[in-house]
């Protein structure tokens, strides 16, 4: 099996689940206006970075492994295949090679199970997991608060990243086996770039990490960051920290309460704000979120990360048609269609 076959298998697992009809819009409504331009930009900065920097340096330009996964199945493969179909540039072979390179960056970033084929997205070392578990700072006196913190931050990431681009701000990693019936799951939140897309961002810490220890032995995570379990989640202990320049500072219960309040209020206000935006502005924000994914890469090669004037033109020309579905029939693709769509070796019809 080639790397690309393994990648397609992990996509098959993730896309075999019933999809949600989510808020405010799935990728088709947002990205169809500018997907080729987004993919071309991703391709250009990636190839420049590949020429000039080591694999490790390029991989480090992404804040999480999940972000690379979302780029591959978000705009990269589909957008470049559309470019190949329409102007034969880049060639399909180049698209496949470049996808393989992205997969190798993913492997660099997440060496243990980079495709999540084993149901894991493991990033922490065994020593780090042991250090967390053996420390006495994991607490069990306020598990409801831990759940509310996790739920409010997930909703906050969703509201500010749309469902299509929430991995700009959120990552779930693990499960890390602690014993035969206990697993550690880690939620990482990164709001450092929130203000590059949104004018009002609320007083939320830039980096938060939550360690959650479950009495459970069968949690799994797939390519699309879906968590699944065959039994009920039973949260046993947790620890929440603020990450400041890589150092962890444990959050007190009062601070956690404040973050829950800020995240909840921010989520509500953001929903009201987005719902009230004109359609083209919703799409423009989607484009900014899409291009934000490669900000680190663009910074690395000294380029501007923001959408170009061409993207604005494309949104003006096609945005409303795509949003209101006047350009193509909204038929639901079969899983075979999804696999063909995301396979860089198969041309776009």
């Amino acid at each position: 099996m080639s790397v690309l076959d393994d990648y397609i298998e992990s996509v098959r697992i993730a896309y075999s689940k019933p999809a949600g009809n989510n808020w405010p819009a799935r990728g088709r409504q947002l990205m169809s206006s500018y997907i080729k331009l987004a993919a071309q930009k991703q391709f250009a900065v990636l190839e420049k970075a590949r020429e000039r920097f080591s694999k490790k340096e390029v991989a480090n330009a992404f804040w999480s492994a999940t972000q690379i996964r979302y780029i591959i199945t978000g705009e990269f493969v589909v957008g470049l295949k559309l470019c190949e179909r329409d102007f034969k540039d880049p060639s399909l072979q180049k698209v496949a090679e470049s996808t393989e390179y992205l997969l190798s960056l993913l492997q660099e970033k997440s060496s243990k199970d980079y495709l999540c084929l084993g149901g894991k997205n493991n990033l922490l070392t065994k020593e780090k997991v042991e250090e967390i578990i053996n420390s006495d700072s994991l607490r069990s006196d306020s598990l409801q608060q831990a759940k509310m913190l996790s739920a409010s931050l997930a909703s906050f990431s969703w509201a500010f990243g749309y469902d299509t681009h929430f991995p700009n701000f959120m990552d779930i990693h693990g499960p890390y086996a602690v014993s035969s019936d206990k697993q550690l799951l880690v939620r990482d939140y990164n709001f450092e770039n929130l203000n590059l897309v949104w004018e009002k961002t609320f007083d939320i810490p830039k980096r938060i990490r939550i360690y959650l220890l479950y009495k459970n032995s069968d949690i799994s995570i797939d390519w699309e960051l879906h968590t699944e379990t065959l039994s009920e989640f039973i949260l046993e202990k947790f620890k929440a920290v603020e990450m400041i320049r890589g150092e962890e500072r444990e959050l007190s219960l009062d601070e956690i309460s404040k973050i829950i309040d800020v995240a909840s209020e921010g989520t509500m206000k953001q929903v009201e704000y987005v719902n009230a935006l004109p359609v083209l502005d919703k799409i423009r924000k989607g484009a900014l979120l899409s291009f934000l994914q490669i900000k680190g890469l663009a910074d690395l090669v000294g380029e501007d990360w923001k959408p170009s004037a061409e993207v604005e033109q494309a949104i003006l020309q096609r945005g409303e048609d795509v949003w209101f579905g006047r350009t193509s029939s909204p038929k639901k693709p079969s899983s075979d269609n999804w696999l063909a769509t995301f396979d860089p070796r198969i041309p776009k019809e």
Partner: protein, 111 residues
């Protein structure tokens, strides 16, 4: 005690069993009940439903899948949830007492 009549079925998004009164909500009607522990019923949730989700003991959505907002947040909160329960908002009534067995994906009538 045996199960009551099956009222509807959906897809399990988070396992668990809970009994409670149905609280119907929609994008235009996000009223918070006085008492917590209700079973939230809606077409689908979005981040605006967060407070309702936090105060509910179970969730039933008519549309959406296991990767929808309701599914993700209910897993974070550890509350039973079924999604894609077709016609749920027509079959269930606001205030009705039900048993939600999310593990099997079924909603039962409660005596």
């Amino acid at each position: 005690m045996g199960e009551g009549k099956v009222l509807l079925k959906g897809v399990c998004a988070n396992k668990g069993v809970v009994e409670g009164k149905v609280h119907f909500a929609s994008d235009d009607n996000l009223v918070l009940p006085k008492e917590n522990g209700f079973i939230l019923l809606c077409n689908q949730t979005n981040p605006a439903y967060l407070i309702l989700l936090m105060r509910s003991s179970g969730v039933i959505t008519e549309t959406g899948g296991i990767v929808s907002h309701a599914a993700i947040v209910s897993r974070e909160l550890g509350i039973p949830c079924i999604v894609g329960a077709k016609d749920a908002t027509a079959v269930l009534k606001h205030g009705q007492k039900i048993k939600l067995d999310a593990t099997s994906g079924a909603v039962y009538e409660c005596p």
